[in-house]
Symmetry: C2
Subunit: 247 residues, 2 copies
DNA sequence: CGTGATATTGATTCCACTCAATATGAGTGG
DNA sequence: CCACTCATATTGAGTGGAATCAATATCACG
């Protein structure tokens, strides 16, 4: 967690002490748990310590759109902070651990720590950038490129936060989930995976994904990880972050 | 401007005084002016006092994606605040007036006014919601629905800020612009307008748009203006409802 | 009155959808 | 241990919405 904040701003000792006190004790959650639904009243940010989850909205006809896929280190629920309402459903893809940061504490943070405020803004910005990038991919790319891009994004984000071996990772999404994220039919997701597999670009067995040659897949996807950039780098670089145990 | 902030939070006298001092003198800009390009260094928020503009990114193949269409009262450049870099191009669609709010002043605002900080966060959230809504529309809707939705959104935003007669408004976007915003071909935008016009849902002559029966168009579009909601409407007392996992 | 930007219309192609059937495999209980 | 079930994935056939290519049409403006 603290590591994640550190990626977004320069923290001093006071900030670190502040962070350590923030939020509730993490609690365990299970795959399939629904943290909240669209329209629910919102009272806190949710910090993901472990596990995967997604946020989604539903159209009138019942089809589902996955908006974001979130992993360890991500923070969820920015939207409710200013509206008091959840704008989308949040569902666990795997078991995990989460804690809550009441909005009141966030507001206190605004008052007490401009640096932390900036860090929260940076996270919000980064997530906006991810959605904007998805928009571009969905608007103009083929099915192959969509899927390739999605996989590259997952891989890159995992590499930056958790530790993923270069040799593959668990992607706990069904083909239907991926279809709902990318605006495709599940059938076509299957066909596309088959096609990518035949060309040796990916391997997918159950939920284990291997990307033999990431550079090649990124080229196909037109993937440039620039947009995942956390924040300005010159400030971050001279940050001798104290090694604080991560929850 | 102040009215716009007011939509996002409760301001007291001090805040209003603060706002009045903020930012540079507005300057005039012309249709076609490029305020910045993707990758440019960023040093300030941009406040739109009058005029239309869009932000866009380009894919490798040169195709353009319009990310946002911005009108009087909107604020631009949140992304650069935390990255120091512009994430997209910003181009004027019409003549207009804009002023700048240096990032340093924004950071000062973070330190001095939690309320204003929250208001900025709310604006950022609202814009994220617009992009997310666009994502959903692009993922799952037909061309007719995409265009109908886009028009409903423009109309609603115009009604909320500027004063637009119910009898129509100027939409200063070419069909190519609309195509680039919605991930369609310009040809198909034309066909779709023709189709919508034949059914009496819209009229478009040059850049003047008339929506004879907004409710009907909104029904076709599946448009629910909820997502354009600025922020909590003072109704929200504190209901600290803990999000309990549901199986 | 030409010129360039914008828009319309026709013909054709193709990517991805739908419907439908089948396969694969994990988990469960008799 | 096998049979059953349910979730997930694959494959085939046929369709259709939107893209592309290409040829005008319209109109504002100098």
């Amino acid at each position: 967690m603290i590591k994640r904040f550190g990626a977004h701003c320069t923290l001093d000792q006071g900030d670190v002490a502040l962070l350590a006190r923030l939020g509730s004790e993490p609690r365990q959650v299970r795959a399939g748990d629904i943290l909240w639904r669209e329209g629910d009243p919102a009272a806190s940010l949710l910090i993901v310590h472990a596990g995967w989850l997604y946020s989604a909205k539903y159209l009138q006809d019942g089809t589902r759109q996955l908006l974001e896929v979130l992993i360890s280190g991500d923070i969820l629920g920015f939207y409710g902070l200013t509206t008091g309402i959840r704008c989308s459903e949040a569902v666990l893809l795997t078991d995990g651990w989460v804690s809550e940061l009441p909005y009141q504490e966030v507001l206190d943070l605004f008052a007490s720590s401009p640096r932390m405020t900036t860090a929260l803004f940076a996270m919000s910005n980064q997530r906006r950038a991810i959605i904007a990038e998805r928009l571009m991919v969905m608007a103009r790319r083929t099915a192959r490129e969509k899927i390739a891009h999605f996989l590259c994004e997952c891989r890159t984000r995992l590499l930056e936060t958790a530790q993923v071996s270069e040799e593959g990772f668990i992607l706990p999404l069904t083909q239907q989930d991926i279809a709902d994220a990318l605006g495709m039919s599940a059938v076509h997701v299957s066909r596309t995976f088959t096609s990518l597999t035949e060309e040796g670009l990916v391997q997918r067995k159950h939920f284990r994904l291997v990307i033999p040659n990431p550079a090649k897949l990124e080229e196909l996807a037109g993937f440039d990880k620039q947009y995942l950039l956390a924040s300005r780098k010159e400030t971050a670089s001279h940050t001798p972050l104290p090694a604080i145990p991560v929850k």
